[in-house]
Structure formats: structure tokens, C-alpha cells
Amino acid sequence: MKILEVSGLSKTFNLHILHNKKIEALKNIDFSMEEGEIIGLTGKSGSGKSSLMKCIYRTYLASTGTILYHSDKGKKDLVQASDHEMIELRKTEITYCSQFLSVIPRVTAIDVVCENLFRVEKNKEIARAKAREILAYLGLAEELWDAFPATFSGGEQQRINLARAVLGNPKFLLIDEPTASLDAKTKEAVIRLILNLKKQGSSVICISHDDYTIDQLVDRNIEMQNGTIVSIQSNPKKENS
């Protein structure tokens, strides 16, 4: 079963306040992905990886093309879906883990992680227990759990960000650079966490510059250059195992 079908997708930024300067970020992107698959996105900085991910999450509005997503409630074109439908999908099925943590200030790490879960789980302590479990697994020092993440180090923020995205086993997960700025041991934990999600049926798109992460994690890899896809290859290391 397919979960995502992207076709003819392009994105051009039209900057009115810079004398209508146009920047082509994505050109004619086509690919599809199966349910339960992990797809890697690689390529140089500025090749359009994050733009593609943001188009799927609708943080960027695609200029042309379609992004068909097979949700539990039927097919949706994420380019055309109404804002309300997107909000519902974000609450229930699609989560996004950005490169940089942007959190609401004055909320403790535990509650940041629980943010989405609080909407469905009215008993806050049950939600917090789940968050503690993930944070412990990712090796975040316990004394930080009830501190404010705005002051955390890069690696600590990254783990908060990831924990927030994976809590509640989303159906479809978009992750931007999950293992950058992490040490080898934590990196291994993150990889296992994502593989575990896959086992439970999640589909994942993951951007990474790290060859080891890509080798361990992905089923297929999409390489990008200048806003286009140059190759889609299945991962030989995954096929053997």
C-alpha cells in the first residue's frame, strides 16, 4: 500500500519585497513511498531537501504539482487540502521534527514532549510517564526534564525535538537531521528508536548528511541536487539484513 505519491512538485519563492526576485527551490519532483518504508533524503546543503519536507508538511506552499497522502480517512492532496484538514492531520497522523527546536517558552521539557499527546490524553500524568520513558531511552539527563529547553545544548534540544515527534507513534513522520550534533552512542539510540517506529507501522522520511545513519536506517535513498532528484536507490545494506 502506498502512503505518499508526489508528482510534478515544484516550489518557487517569489520575493515581492526583493524586487520580485524568484528562487527556484524544487523542480518537478516525482516519487512515491510505501507504507512502513523509511526513505532517506541526501544531497548538498541547499539542494532542496528541507524545502521538499516543508512542502509535504505544508509549511511551504507548493507552486505546482500534487502530494497525495493516504490518510486513515482516505486520500488527501496535501497541496490542496484546507487549512483545517492540515491541522487535523498534523494533530493525528503527520508529525515533523525540524532541524532546530522552536518551542513555546516557559514550558518544561517534559511538557514540550507531551504537547501533542495532551490533546488526546487528558490524564497528564499518563502522558508524562510516556515522555519520561522516551527521554530516558534517549539518554537525556533526568535533572533537565523539568527545566526549560530554550537553554539546552544543541544535542539536548535535538533529542527533545525528536522525542516530541515520535511520541504517540505517528503514522507518518518527517525528520530533518535527527543525528547531527549527537555522539555515537546517542546516535545509535536514535536509529534504533526510528527503526522501532517502522516496526510499529510508521512511515518515515529522514534527511541526513551522515552516511552511517542513512546506511543503518533507510530502505531507499533519494539523492537531490539543485532542487531535482538525481537518483532513487534501494539500500543494499538493508536488503542483505
Binding site: 517569489n14 520575493l15 505544508r58 516557559r106
Partner: protein, 282 residues
């Protein structure tokens, strides 16, 4: 984008407010493309025109734009503080969701306002009666929505004040003796006293110092999470919009120039004015 989804809470169509004598060309000859909301023919002022949107239960909608762009006009029209020139608004929990609430009798409007809506103004003097104690203000709203038991009213007022971190022993003090942040929190208590499904917030943190601002915003966010109230948040402060809202409408010269998910508006604004607004963020 407007869909005919059926579980909306508030539906607004073609809402228009014009001050002064106008003609049929007035709306067409004003707006962002003319960079003016004053009609060149007759000098009438188009505060807002052709406003369309749906709000869903539990959703938080932001309205941003420069001063005079019509943000507050929209919520004041919907809260019946102003009389509309044109347009319709429908409210799902009201007795008949095909009735235009803007055309209802004053008595019905009062019922809707007291039972189904709450409003927090920028200036606490607009939302609170300064001749009543803080508890009395909350009680007023409760009495209006049919709670007559004094003991229950007092208990509810106490509960709300402690929830909004106003010292409960000041229940019987006049709001005039409160600090600005406390007045604002009493106003919020009053607005949510009867658990309305819909809350309007009009520049609620403007004019407060940053630490008090933070407290008021945290309170609103927590309440929203806990009670699941749908909100319309009017603000010219993009940080407030980012922190509180799911969706945002950008206004200029009385028109909505762009609407979308809040992160999309902030990271990929399409309209020229929206781009200018976001690039002005400090």
C-alpha cells in the same frame, strides 16, 4: 480556502463594515491594491469588507495586520459591539445554525453573548465594570447566563481567580486597585466564567510589560489546552500569533490579503504585505 466541512463552529460570510455614506463602488474602489480604505468618491471608510472564514471547535485563529487594518472590527462585529453593514455569521451551538446571528434581535444577541461567547479587550475598562468588585464582575457574567445561586457564583469566582493566579482574598476588591496584568487576568476569568465554546481576544497583551505579558499568554495557552475553547486572537505582535494560533489571517486596508497555517504564513508568506510584515519581525 473554504470547504463545506460540516463540523464548523463559527461561519462568517461577506462580513463588511463601512462608516459613512457609501455607494456600490465603495468596496471596489478601496483595499490593498489602492493602499487605502477611504472611498475616493464619498470619503466613507471601509473598516473591513468581504471577510470570509470558518472556525472549527478548539481551533485558534490569529488575525494580524497594521493598526487600522480592520482586525478589531471583525471581532467587535462578531461580539455585537458594532453593527454590521453587510454579511452573515452563523454559530453552530446556537439554537438554529442557519440563522444569521448578526440579524437576531438584541435580546437574542445578548443571550448568545452571555452563553456562547467570551471577549477579552485590550483595555480592561472595556471588559470589566470598575464599579463592581472583581468577584462581582465574574458574577455578573454568571448571572447573565442564568446562574442565580449566590454560593455557586462565589465558588466559581474563587475557582477562576485561583486558576488565573489572582490572590483569592482580593475577590471583593475593586479592579481599579489592581495592577494592569491582574486586571487582564480578572477580565479573562470573566470571559470564560460560563465555559463558552468561543473566545475573542483583542490585543490582550498590548501595553503590558514583558514578564506580565508572558504570564497572561501562558495562562491563555494553558486554558486553551485544558478547556479546548476556540479562539480568535487579534494581535499586531507576530510572537503572540506564533505562540497561540494554528491558523492566521493577514489583513491590510480592511481586507484579508492572505490566510494559512501559522507556520506557513511565518515561513513562506505569499502576499507582498505579508512578506513585509514577516521581514519586519525583530
Amino acid at each position: 480556502m473554504i470547504r463545506n466541512d460540516d463540523n464548523w463552529l463559527l461561519r462568517v460570510r461577506n462580513l463588511t463594515k463601512i462608516y459613512g455614506a457609501y455607494n456600490e463602488q465603495t468596496v471596489a474602489r478601496t483595499g490593498p491594491e489602492f493602499n487605502s480604505n477611504i472611498c475616493p468618491d464619498n470619503g466613507s471608510i471601509v473598516a473591513c469588507a468581504d471577510i470570509n472564514f470558518d472556525l472549527y471547535p478548539g481551533e485558534v485563529l490569529g488575525i494580524v495586520g497594521e493598526s487600522g487594518s480592520g482586525k478589531s472590527t471583525i471581532v467587535k462585529l462578531l461580539y455585537f459591539d458594532l453593527e454590521k453593514t453587510n454579511g452573515e455569521a452563523f454559530l453552530k451551538p446556537y439554537e438554529n445554525d442557519t440563522l444569521n446571528i448578526l440579524d437576531e434581535s438584541n435580546q437574542k444577541k445578548k443571550f448568545i453573548r452571555n452563553n456562547l461567547m467570551g471577549m477579552v479587550y485590550q483595555n480592561p475598562r472595556d471588559g470589566l465594570n470598575f464599579n463592581f468588585s472583581s468577584g462581582g464582575n465574574i458574577g455578573e457574567k454568571l448571572i447573565m447566563s442564568g446562574n442565580m445561586h449566590v454560593g455557586n457564583i462565589r465558588n466559581r469566582a474563587t475557582e477562576l481567580l485561583s486558576k488565573t493566579e489572582v490572590p483569592v482574598q482580593r475577590l471583593d476588591d475593586l479592579p481599579a486597585f489592581f495592577s494592569g496584568g491582574m486586571q487582564q487576568r480578572v477580565q479573562i476569568s470573566k470571559a470564560i466564567a460560563n465555559n463558552p465554546p468561543l473566545l475573542f481576544l483583542d490585543e490582550v497583551t498590548t501595553g503590558l510589560d514583558v514578564s506580565v505579558q508572558a504570564k497572561v499568554l501562558d495562562l491563555i495557552r494553558e486554558m486553551q489546552q485544558e478547556l479546548g475553547i476556540a479562539m480568535i486572537v487579534v494581535s499586531h505582535d507576530l510572537s503572540v500569533i506564533r505562540m497561540l494560533t494554528d491558523r492566521t489571517m493577514v489583513m491590510k486596508n480592511g481586507r484579508i490579503v492572505e490566510s494559512g497555517l501559522t507556520d506557513q504564513i511565518l515561513q513562506d508568506p505569499q502576499h507582498e504585505y505579508a512578506q513585509l510584515l514577516v521581514s519586519s519581525l525583530l
